[in-house]
Amino acid sequence: MTESECVECGGTVTLHDDLEIGEIVDCETCGAELEVVDVSPPVLDRAPELEEDWGE
């Protein structure tokens, strides 16, 4: 397990080991959706907002 900082609230976000660039994690402190933009070391950014054409 590794840790990174939430860009929304500054809280600590615990991350699992098989982290992938492009995946979304939630901040347990503020609930923000965060995108993993780098994995070594982990870097998080705000995730894009839901778009109307997202889906299957």
Partner: protein, 292 residues
């Protein structure tokens, strides 16, 4: 092999695929389409030497154009832009199923609120109105009354962009509280599950409860025909059971999500998908040699 994976967001589905590909020692090129440029003859995307590229774009618009460009460059892409174009649009989806003789809910399209209201009145209540582009059960409406119909049509006409002025009206299928999702590779079912809910929308994304489902021969045949109707590939075929004990296919999805199916089914879905991808890559390589 070298497998390209087009994405803009890595969901659990993509993680399962990536894990399976890497376990088999395939080289994976993750291609974030948000960072790429696509020219008429070349792209910044890392597609060189890819035996096959699989489109896992979350955004339909990106999926449609990225696959179109890759196909133009001569890169084998799954699913094909033709399949994506049919599956991404409910009108094209319905027409393709009907043309192939696949039972599908009665549907009418109208371009004005007045004509849409006539279609709704002809279907009677309840009936269903859907956006032509969209997923996860969003913006779908079960219309139970004339008042609701008028309000929904006015809202769509006033608030929506032009696609919402294509009114896609469909009969309401009184299914037994569940529908069936089948993941198929070129029409061959990999696994199937039911999605159950007390709500009329049973999508897993809407919280439908999932359970493994054993397909009968009739359902298997419908899945194969529906897959062919939209051009084949890695697809999610959605069926409903009618009161008459028949099946009706309401849509085919082209960037199919399978995390819920993988949990509901005893089948190792990502493994089966990668098995099929390997075959597709081999066929593409053989075709490239023959045309060289």
């Amino acid at each position: 092999m070298k497998i390209g994976l087009l994405y803009s967001r890595i969901r659990k589905d993509e993680k399962l695929l990536l894990s399976e590909l890497r376990e088999r020692d395939h080289e994976v090129a993750k291609i974030d389409v948000r960072k790429q440029r696509f020219g008429l003859t070349e792209t910044t995307a890392e597609i060189a030497d890819c035996d096959v590229v699989i489109d896992r774009c979350l955004a339909t618009s990106r999926s449609l154009y990225a696959t179109r460009f890759l196909s133009a460059y001569g890169v084998p892409v799954i699913n094909s832009p033709e399949t994506a174009a049919v599956c991404a649009d409910k009108v094209k989806n319905s027409l393709a199923l009907e043309a192939a003789g696949v039972p599908t809910p009665a549907t009418e399209v109208a371009f004005t609120t007045e004509a849409a209201m006539e279609a709704i009145e002809d279907f009677g209540y309840p009936c269903v109105i859907k956006p032509v582009v969209g997923s996860w059960g969003r913006l779908m409406a079960k219309i139970d009354s004339e008042n609701a119909a008028e309000a929904i049509l006015e809202h769509k006409a006033t608030l929506g962009h032009y696609e919402h002025k294509v009114f896609y009206v469909q009969e309401y299928v009184d299914k037994p509280g569940r529908d069936i999702r089948v993941l198929a590779c070129d029409g061959e079912p990999v696994a199937a599950m039911t999605r159950s809910s007390e709500h009329w929308l049973t999508n897993a994304a809407k919280g439908g409860q999932t359970a493994d489902f054993e397909l009968d021969d009739e359902a298997k045949d419908l899945v194969a025909t529906a897959s062919d109707a939209v051009g084949g590939g890695l697809l999610g075929v959605d069926l409903m059971e009618t009161k008459d004990g028949e099946y009706t296919v309401h849509e085919v999805n082209h960037t199919v999500e399978f995390k819920a199916l993988n949990e509901a089914s005893e089948v190792d879905v990502p493994a089966a998908v990668v098995d099929w991808l390997e075959l597709k890559a081999e066929v593409a390589a053989d075709e490239a040699v023959m045309t060289a």
